[in-house]
Amino acid sequence: MFFSGLSEAIGFGLASGAVLSIGSVGLTVQFGISGVFNLAYGALLTVSAFGGYYLVGVGVNFWLAMIIVAVGVGVLSVVINTSIYAPLQRRGGSPLTLIVATLYVATFIQYTVAAIAGDQEVSFAPQSGRELIFLGFHLTELQVEFIGVAAVLMFGYHILLSRSTLGRALRATAGNRTLARACGIRTRRVVDFTWLITGMMCGVAGMALAATTVAFDFNLGTLFLFYMVAGLLLGGAGHPYGAMIGALTIGVSSQLAAFYINPELSDVVVFSIMVIILLVRPRGIFAAAAGATGLES
């Protein structure tokens, strides 16, 4: 009983960590490249969840809906950055002013969703109740699929950063935007691209989160935001590889806490990890291990 529960908790932890890592990496790349710590990311996650819910509701295939939602939220992210954050930065807004601004953008988006969708809890039609035994862990088919999606996205991201010219432009922009511009990199386009792909990752994470949650309402993203932030900080802000490991750690430890302590207190455990990390190792734990390809700003 003890051990079968353990492997289940770890399996669930890996599954939720996979979803979390998509979000955390998106958030940390946004921060690394544009210097905005975007608290509205959680609200966009909620938008994705409800967008997917409605699309699936009218009969669109789940995976097609995921692609549509990803593109939509990606474009929305670009619009938010170019119309709100970037102008504020150009006017000399401090990082603190920007955080405050993102908080209000988050509130605006969250309550717009609430106004449209109401405050009832909704849930996706059960995709697949079939249980698989995967690497010794008990998982639903959907969870295994999301782990696969996360792995593909992470690998794609790795290739993008390390092998492509665009990846080099991204890293240069993160390192020093003025210098990158002086070297002929169209930094504004790089930043737009960043917000597009990170927004798309937010869309995928939102759909995946909603589909693996029993039921959700317009508050879905707010709490999950802190899970993503915790994963991000664990990995060191601005380090995509650190965020991947950090998110998996958070996913597994929150499920273990829920299993061994109390499901209600798993939030508390995650928050505590976040606060302790910030106090003890504000640069993160995995940043150094993740190597020099970080996007530290």
């Binding site: 405050v100 509130t107 309550y111 802190f226 939030d267 928050f271």
Partner: protein
Amino acid sequence: MSYYALILVCYLGIDTIAAWGLNLEYGVAGVANLGYILFIAAGAYSYAVLRLPRGLDLGTGASYIGGLHWPGWLAILGSVVVGALLGALLGLVAVRRVRLDYFALVMFGFAILSWTLVGAVPGFLGGQSGLFFIDDPGVSRTSWAYAVLVGIICVACWFVLRRFTCGPVGRTLRAIRDAPAAAASLGKNLFGWRIVVQAVGGAFAALSGALLCGFLGAWSPPAWTSLETLLYLTAVIVGGLGSDVGVLIGVAIVPVLIVQGVQFLPTISSFPQFTSDGTMILFSLTTLGFLFFRPQGVLPSRRPRMRISTSPHGSLGEHAPQVATGRVTARPRSRGPKLLGQAGSDDAVLRAEDVTVRYGGVVAVDHVTFQARLGTITGLIGPNGAGKSTLMNVLRGTQSPDEGRVVLDGDDISAVPTYRRARRGLVASSQLSEPFSRLTVIENLCVAAPAQRAERLSGIVTGRRLWRNQEQVIIERAASLLEEFRLTSKANDLASTLSGGERKMLDVMRTLMTNPRVLLLDEPMAGVTPALCDRIERAMLKLANQGVAIVVVEHDLASIERICDHVVVMASGRVIDTGKMDVLRSSEVVQQAYLNG
């Protein structure tokens, strides 16, 4: 209807106290506390458990700690103490270690964490259903007497608040907000001030929470969701960051805006929980609109105007070696009487011993030993990337050396923080100018004056009486410096409006205000016109004549030759040669370093 008016007036007062505290933290001292509601809740819960009798049956199955049944005034006082302690504690733990944007996140997370915990544990503070049957603080909550009580406390708060937002203390806090590193280099204890501000802000929040709890007679988690912080933040942003009167207006506008948005008369239980989606949307749009189109708020904080007497005699240094318009052509041979120190090895007031700094695998400073003598100007030159600025940062205290030590007056100060070094007379200006941009030029100078009485506890308690005379002296000194550097006409302009060269001058002038014994200047003349350079050179020579040790990093070798007694050449992190500039010019090693660098 009149009861409705009573509710509005009481809320106006209670919210104003909270918003003032947040304004002190965010608007004045620049610390965004996104978990501010936590302190309001701490005050409310403290009041509740101090005022409630022991073990009252709440009828919800939940219970609470405490239950001291204190009289109302004592319960309020107790809450204020709890708020101040909590503020100081969280400030101590968090502000010390964490960047300010992370601090905002930590506090946001901390508020949610506490909220979850309080709701989840039924035996602590009443759990999810909260506490009720709480007595008013001895003044009936349904009579206008309560509004009078709130009003009186508001007025008292105003006087306390002004001790921190006005005068020299307000100036210091705003300086720390605008350019923390520069403020530390001028001897300001950032952490100390931030903890003080967190304590005062926490006390204000807790007082507001206690009065709110006394007015409502109940307190529970739904009353302090993390969104509540946004309410006060909006009041501060709309009213005017850093403006105490503006915040009062902001509080008046924001609740009205909410009441109109919700379109129902507020009842006691529903007012603070603005649940309507439309209200929240309107509310966030309003705030974003202000951040965009009027970031200074409805009533921006006023900048003080100081009258400056432009006396004809001025105070241009008697030691000025040349007529005002000419260039310094040769440095005077004799230096006049030295005021500090004696000739000999004791003159080496500041020493870097075997200092090494590595950035990852790169050795930026490689076992450098170097000293600065009283009454002399030491030039530090070398090609870009030689490690000059890193060495200066080690001396200044913003970078700690991996090996070696820094010695001031014979004491190892390697572990002494920047502000303490500044108080011991080691003052630096950095390579990039760091004006306190939202202070006026003359305020920038006044901030730097050392040992201000107004900044001590006694000065804050006693008020203007204690520091009025000293402040007058400081202003006069600043005015005479402005005249010496011919910036008198800009005295009351915001520092953000100065040109690049003028900012550099302001940096130098600020360091002069501190009465330094050792002055570190990192490229003080970069980007400054020749005429202004001349004034800076003149000021440096004058200081050296008065016995100050100056270390200057500069790329203009002609200037170095004019003013420096001794020159140290660095390349690739090492000292490659030392001596007089005219000799070094012909040194092959130095020429090679510059050509290859």
